[in-house]
């Protein structure tokens, strides 16, 4: 029989989700249990020693979460994945697996504000030092690399401002210096961009956004591309050195091209504990089944709204890579030809005041701190998501005082445009 490669839409529904072996349940059951009975004492020992596949305790792994993991690994084209409690937990476990105290990593300065904050402040306690680079100028990543650099981190499409990152150019720098290249693919989702095809080694997601897609569950994923060879590389002892907690096992050697995902699970998730609830995993899985349909609609609606705003006289600028005039339009055509996603920013001629008024005059758009919902959302980043940044960092991150961010939902686009028109008239 010929083995064939299913398409993305088929994977979005089927990957990881065979009928339940015990009951035949066709929808993935919610295994709402802390623990799993062992077959016998020897089986328990094999599981704890990482010698057999199976379930022990839901902090370490859970069958509902595992379906989500395999689903996202398949959609991204990776070797394995790990589901965790949030997007931030995913970032944290990735760096915990790669970095030692005193190490550095280079990150794009255009990122979700929470990630900038996590890197600047929380990571200092671990002795992990971020060095910022400009995603619009890949050469700045190379210039920032030192012998202590252990990773490079970017967002494929950067939150909040519709920045498309030249992944191939930065991947080439990472490869040249033999450093793993981490891409946060939250804003694009694998429907729009598949970063492993452009040289990423590790992908992280806030599943809270488009993967779940319905604004009901916080979750995160780490995806192992299987492309970075950690075995024998002294710079990454989590993977290359005998692990005392596993009887001297070398994880990178024992688990080959999915060793990174296993290390994040058995060293990070197991010891630090940010596990995803099986119920959240179930809701996120349900969301993923319609990811291709939703992402297309999100992008089509966003383009229509962005085009309308660009022609509105109270709007001074619109930053959406789907617009032909946008500075990132060529990169968008290269990396995400199907669409440039749901999220973009625009500036009001009336500045900060007009922004605040607009937000309170909108009726259909919800004023809240999230993106990637079925509903359309609006926020003023400078006073919320990017509030903890300095004024300079805000501008650098595309979140200056006059900036409004929209996350366009799946409603009728004419209703969204009408709502914006009315609110702009009143502003």
């Amino acid at each position: 029989m010929t083995d064939r490669l299913p398409g993305f839409d088929t994977l979005a529904i089927h990957a990881g989700a065979a009928p339940d072996a015990a009951t035949g349940a066709r929808a993935t059951p919610i295994y709402q249990t802390t623990s799993f009975v062992f077959d016998d004492v020897d089986h328990a020992a094999s599981l704890f020693g990482l010698q057999a596949f199976g379930n022990i305790y839901s902090r370490i792994g859970n069958p509902t979460c595992a379906v989500l993991e395999e689903r996202v690994a398949a959609l991204e084209g990776g070797t394995a994945a790990l589901a965790v409690a949030s997007g931030h937990a995913a970032e944290f476990l990735v760096f915990h697996t790669l970095l030692q105290p005193g190490d550095e990593f280079v990150a794009a300065k255009k990122l979700y504000g929470g990630s900038i904050n996590q890197f600047n402040h929380a990571y200092k306690n671990f002795g992990w030092n971020v060095v910022w680079a400009d995603p619009d100028d890949p050469a700045t990543f190379e210039a920032a690399i030192t012998p202590k650099t252990k990773a490079i981190f970017v967002e494929s499409i950067a939150n909040p401002g519709g920045v498309i990152v030249d992944l191939k150019a930065i991947a080439a720098i990472a490869k040249k210096h033999r450093i793993p290249f981490i891409v946060d693919n939250t804003m694009a989702s694998p429907y729009l961009i598949r970063p492993f095809e452009h040289g990423a080694d590790i992908i992280v997601h806030s599943a809270t956004k488009f993967l779940g897609g319905h604004g009901n569950s916080i979750g995160g994923l780490i995806v192992d591309g299987g492309s970075f060879n950690f075995a024998g590389d002294d710079r990454y002892p989590a993977l290359s050195k005998p692990r005392p907690e596993y009887g001297g096992m070398v994880l990178g050697e024992t688990f080959g091209n999915f060793g990174f995902a296993i290390a994040c699970r058995v060293l990070g998730l197991r010891d630090l504990g940010p596990a995803l609830s099986p119920f959240n995993a179930f809701l996120i899985l349900n969301g993923i089944e319609t990811l291709p349909l939703r992402m297309q609609r999100h992008s089509d609606n966003a383009l229509a709204v962005a085009e309308h705003l660009a022609s509105h006289d109270k709007v001074s600028w619109v930053s959406y890579p789907g617009l032909r005039s946008d500075r990132y339009h060529n990169l968008a055509k290269q990396y995400c030809p199907k669409g440039a996603g749901a999220v973009f920013t625009f500036g009001l001629s009336g500045g900060y005041e007009a922004g605040v008024k607009l937000v309170s005059n909108l009726k259909l758009f919800s004023h809240l701190a999230n993106i990637g919902d079925t509903r359309s959302l609006v926020i003023h980043p400078a006073s919320t998501t990017h509030r903890q940044l300095t004024d300079d960092q805000k501008v650098q991150a595309g979140a200056g005082p006059e900036v409004v961010r929209l996350s366009i939902g799946l409603e009728d686009k004419d209703d969204l445009i009408d709502d914006l028109n009315n609110a702009l008239d009143a502003a």
């Binding site: 299913p6 990881g16 339940d20 799993f36 010698q51 395999e70 699970r265």
Partner: protein, 189 residues
Amino acid sequence: MLIELSRPLPYGPFMDHGNYTNDYIRGILQSVKTIALVGASSNPARPSWIVMKYLIERGYDVIPINPGLAGGELLGKPVYASLADVPHPIDMVEIFRNSEAAGPITDEALTLEPLPKVIWMQLSVRNDEAAARAEAKGVKVVMDRCPKIEFGRLSGEISWQGVNSRMLSAKKPVLAGKGFQKLSLNRPR
């Protein structure tokens, strides 16, 4: 319908190593019973020990080969110094040594009577010349694969670890019998 991934085989007498079909691997794992594991280790942290234990738990008769441990026992099985010392027929020789060493081990395996049906070189081990010599004698060859990973992938067990099994199916996986945490290769396709 079971949609399985990995690329189809090209035409020709020899295997396209690097692109095995799921049917080819499954056929091997379902047909062999006695597996000689060359390069067996007594260290439970080593992949060869882990794979040996897993294969025993899945019902294979695994014969450890290691001159340094010959005469003793590993996981309850007598250890032999070489393939030639094993006093009964071997279905599959699993090579847990480096790619260069796989050459002479393959040649030794090809002197056995009866011949083994399969020579399997572990993940990261590949020796195309040795493979060609084995295939010329009608012996099937697998290179650069781990039988534990392949068993886990084809049965569905590996999915519990969030690994991309590259298998899609609307058919139930089959429990291997004892307990709920072991699955069988006899999954309807």
